[in-house]
Every structure is written in structure tokens, then in C-alpha cells.
Amino acid sequence: MLNLIKNELIKLTANKKLYVGMFIILGVNLLPLLEMVTGSLGDIPIAGQTFPLYMLSTYLNVVMPIFISVLIADMITDDYVNGTLTLSLIHPVSRGRLLAAKVLALATMITLLLLYSLLLGYVFGSVIFGWGEQFIYQDVVSETNYTFSAATGFVITLGSYAVSIAPLLAFGMVVLLLAFHFNSGGALVGTCIGLVIALSFLGEIAQGLRPVLINHYFALFKYAFLDKNTAQVMVAVLVLGAYSIVPLMLSLRTLKKKDIVY
């Protein structure tokens, strides 16, 4: 199994798309600088120690879902259509193990990309805004201020990035299922971008649906570390669990029954 995961990671890390994505994350970190220059940041108390937590929402709602779609398009749809999926399947590897390796490789990549984003956030935040004396995080929507010591703030930031792997991986499982039904990686990515936008609109126009929408749980870190709302966290675990397991099982069933014709 480790060799299968290694194979997937070699392919992902040798692909230019990964580095394009990392460059985009780097560019996203510079956006607040632009906002600072234009004055659109207002009174939001940003400092180097809080900057990664502010950036996390942007990563979770926009950058990472697109990035995950691109990675899965490469790992599944393009791998199948290009005929390279066949290469593994004509060797003693079961389809279930291959899928498991791809999912674990995806989880590894999500973790590494979040870690990269976290480090960039600290570097850019400190350079642009200075480290700051206190950890003050303002929820942009509710305008609630959360104040912690620098050490607690660091732990909360680290924890927030860590728990965010769960909703991203759940989103990845939904994309995974879609990936088996597309014959073009580009079309898959386009559909996923459309899905992210549609889910945001749906959440806005039908607020009652929010508890069952996956993007609602991109804010899991807030429930867990800022609001400390245990009930909300439990609901999130259940919903994200369902979003992870059901598509994964359906993907496994699809792959096991699929005729590999490319």
C-alpha cells in the first residue's frame, strides 16, 4: 500500500499543476497587501500571528476546493482517459487498494498544502503587518472579536488548519465520485467550480438548507476553536462523515464495476 501511495505522490509532485497552484496560493497571500494599500481592510485587526487564520477562510472557500478538483481530475479522470490507469490495473493490484492509495495520497497533499499555506501566512503576515502584540481575531461576518495570548493563538491557528483537512477531504470525496463520470479533467474542474459557486448561492438564498450543505462546514474550525460549540461540531462530524463515506463507497463500487476501455 505504501508503494501505491508513493506512486501517486510521485505523479502529483512531478506535475506542473501543483506548482502553478502553489504559486496561486502565494499570490493570494499578497491580496491583503493590496487591500491595505487601497484601505479596504477597514478596522480589521490583522497582524502576523492572526494573518494565517484570516487567510484560512479564503483557502477553504475558494482556493482549496478548486485545487482539490484539479488534483482529482489528474488522479482519476485524466488517468482513466489517458489510458494510464490501465497500467496499474494490469498488475497485481486490486481496484479497491488503488482507490484507497489515491484517497490517502489526496489527504497527504491536502495536509501538505495547508501546511504550506500556514507557513506562507505567517511569513507574509509578519512581513506585511508585523507580528503584533496580541492575538485578536475578528469574525468578519459577526464582527465578534476573539482575543487570546500569542501561544494560545498559535495553537488555535494550528488546530484550525488541522481540522480543516476534514471538510476538504469530504469535498474531495464528492469530487472523486464525479470524477468517475467525466471523460475530461477540464470539464470536471469546471463543474466543481460551478458546484462551489452554486452551493454558496444556495446557502444564501435558502438558509434552512445550510446544515446539509458541505460548504457550510468549511467553517468547522470556527465551531471548534472560536465558538467552542460542541453540538455544532458533532453535527459537522456527522454531516462530513456522511459526505465522506457515501461518495467514497459509491466511487469504490463504480471503479470495481467499471470496464476500463481506454
Partner: protein
């Protein structure tokens, strides 16, 4: 060859929607065979090969490789197999060596030196560090063969193995296949449209048309038959035709270029020549005309023959 069936295909059927692609085919491949799998485009060759490798699920029928049923015991059945299905596919952004490493990683007991061995066998050692995206079609074909041989397979499936190679490359690959079959006892299952390739390297052949098996046997059997064809060059074609009509060992006579084309019982051509000369028919020359597998193939596929 010891008569042991390395591959057994029984009553394979497959439809995609309403289209019947493979319609009840069956054959056996013995250990050490270089088995040619022929058929025109759309005959169902690739679908059959994919079913044999467990990539496509048959509607009916079974495939056994090295005694293991591919559907019920896939991992054991596929363990001793190497294959190129259609054009060799690679990850173009990985080097030749990295592409082979992807497969070597699926066989944990394979020594690292095996990659160097197969690269050397196909003459790609010098380009192993280059990305496959920079390779020519011929180099990709050679790398594909290296990959198929990587896990020391006992059975190798090759789809158009010399496609894209220059004449020298074709010769080398054919020699390599013959050598591997002979020296390492590897059984080859080769799908190709190059019929002379089958004549050169295969000992057995199965011909497929419209999803059905239309001929099978040794290449020698299919080409040899009981009759032979000779071309007679004579200025007295009319007279010769009269003489030969009704002769027992002459199976057919038809006008040919500068004379006649005669199908007769094997080994009777000297007698035929004597007969014509004794009737004062001037024979300029008499040339045996071998029926190539290509002619045989065209006759079969156009004639809608079925395997008896």
C-alpha cells in the same frame, strides 16, 4: 512447448449497449507459443485482450491465465503477466526510469537493478533520465516493451509491438520476441495488423472478424494446406487451359498475367510441367506462388468463413 495451456479462453461474449463486440470466442495458448491474434479494425481484438487482462468484464465466458481464473483470482492470474494494451501510455512528465519505477513499485520483490536490465534490453539506457514527453513514438514503443518485461512475466500480451518503429527497430523487436520465447520460455500473445510479422515470429494464429473466430491453427497449417499455387508463363495459355481442365490433381485454373495461375495438389508441379511439354505447350517458366497469410486473411475476412 509441452502442451500446457498457459491461457484458456472459453466462450467469451461482450456487448457494449446493442453492439455485440465479441461473440462467443474461445482458444488456448500453450506454454512457449508466440501466438498471433489477427483481425481487421473493429473485429474485437482489443476488447478481447482487455477481457483477458481483467480490464473489461465479459458478459459471458471465462479466461484462465497460468491456471487462475482472471475474474475469480485476479491477483494470482495477473501476477505473471506483462502487457501493452493499444499504444503504450506513459506519464509524459516523468522520466523513462520513473515510469518504470511506477510499475516496479507494484512488485515489491523486484530488485532495483531490473529497471536497468530492461532499459538495456531495449536500448534506452542513455535516455532513461529524460522525460517521456520528449521521446519519439519508436522510443515509447521500446519503453513499453521494457515495461511489459519488467516483472519477469511468463506471459506477455503485446498490441502492435512494432508500431512506429523503423525497419531496423522492427527487426530488433521481432528478434527479441523470438529470442525471449525461446530462451526464457516466455509465452507471447501478439495482436498485430502486420501479417508478415505473424508469419515471421508467430507459431500459431487466431483470426477474428466481427467478434467471431474465423480461423485458428498453426501458421504452417493455415498457409500450407494440401494444395499449392503455381504461376505458368506460356504463350499458349488457351491450349494449356484446355489440357489442364479435367486433370484430377489440378484443382483450379484461371488466366493470370502472361499465362495461367494453377492450384494443384502439393508436389505435382513437375508432373504438370511434363504434361504441358508433352502436349507441345511451350512453358517459359513455372513459378511456385506462396499464399501469404495476408492473402489468406483477406480471403477469410471477405468470405465470411467460420471456424469449423
Amino acid at each position: 512447448m509441452n502442451g500446457e495451456h498457459v491461457i484458456e479462453v472459453k466462450s467469451l461474449r461482450k456487448s457494449f449497449g446493442p453492439t455485440k463486440v465479441v461473440d462467443g470466442i474461445g482458444f488456448n495458448v500453450e506454454k512457449g507459443d508466440v501466438f498471433g491474434f489477427l483481425g481487421p479494425n473493429g473485429a474485437g481484438k482489443t476488447t478481447t485482450m482487455r477481457m483477458m487482462l481483467g480490464l473489461v468484464y465479459p458478459d459471458e465466458g471465462s479466461v484462465t491465465i497460468n491456471g487462475y481464473n482472471i475474474a475469480k483470482d485476479f491477483l494470482n492470474a495477473i501476477r505473471g503477466v506483462g502487457a501493452i494494451v493499444e499504444t503504450p501510455r506513459f506519464y509524459p512528465y516523468l522520466t523513462g526510469r520513473q515510469n518504470l519505477l511506477q510499475i516496479a513499485n507494484l512488485h515489491p520483490r523486484l530488485p532495483g537493478s531490473r529497471i536497468d536490465e530492461v532499459l538495456d534490453m531495449v536500448g534506452l539506457t542513455g535516455r532513461a533520465a529524460n522525460r517521456v514527453g520528449t521521446y519519439s513514438l519508436g522510443m515509447k514503443q521500446r519503453l513499453g516493451i521494457a515495461r511489459a518485461l519488467l516483472n519477469h512475466p511468463s506471459v506477455v500480451f503485446l498490441d502492435e509491438p512494432t508500431n512506429g518503429l523503423d525497419p531496423q527497430g522492427m527487426k530488433e523487436i521481432r528478434e527479441m520476441i523470438s529470442q525471449l520465447a525461446l530462451e526464457q520460455d516466455i509465452t507471447f500473445f501478439i495482436s498485430t495488423h502486420l501479417l508478415h510479422e505473424v508469419e515471421q515470429i508467430c507459431n500459431k494464429v487466431t483470426i477474428l472478424n466481427k467478434g467471431r473466430l474465423i480461423a485458428r491453427g498453426t501458421v504452417k497449417e493455415l498457409l500450407g494446406k494440401d494444395n499449392e499455387l503455381v504461376e505458368i508463363s506460356t504463350p499458349d495459355a488457351g491450349k494449356a487451359l484446355e489440357i489442364l481442365t479435367g486433370i484430377g490433381y489440378v484443382k483450379s485454373v484461371k488466366p493470370g498475367l502472361g499465362g495461367l495461375e494453377v492450384e494443384l495438389e502439393r508436389g505435382r508441379s513437375a508432373e504438370l510441367n511434363g504434361l504441358l511439354v508433352s502436349h507441345s505447350v511451350m512453358v517459359n517458366y513455372l513459378v511456385p506462388k506462396n499464399q501469404s497469410l495476408e492473402q489468406f486473411f483477406i480471403e477469410l475476412t471477405e468470405g465470411g468463413h467460420q471456424v469449423a
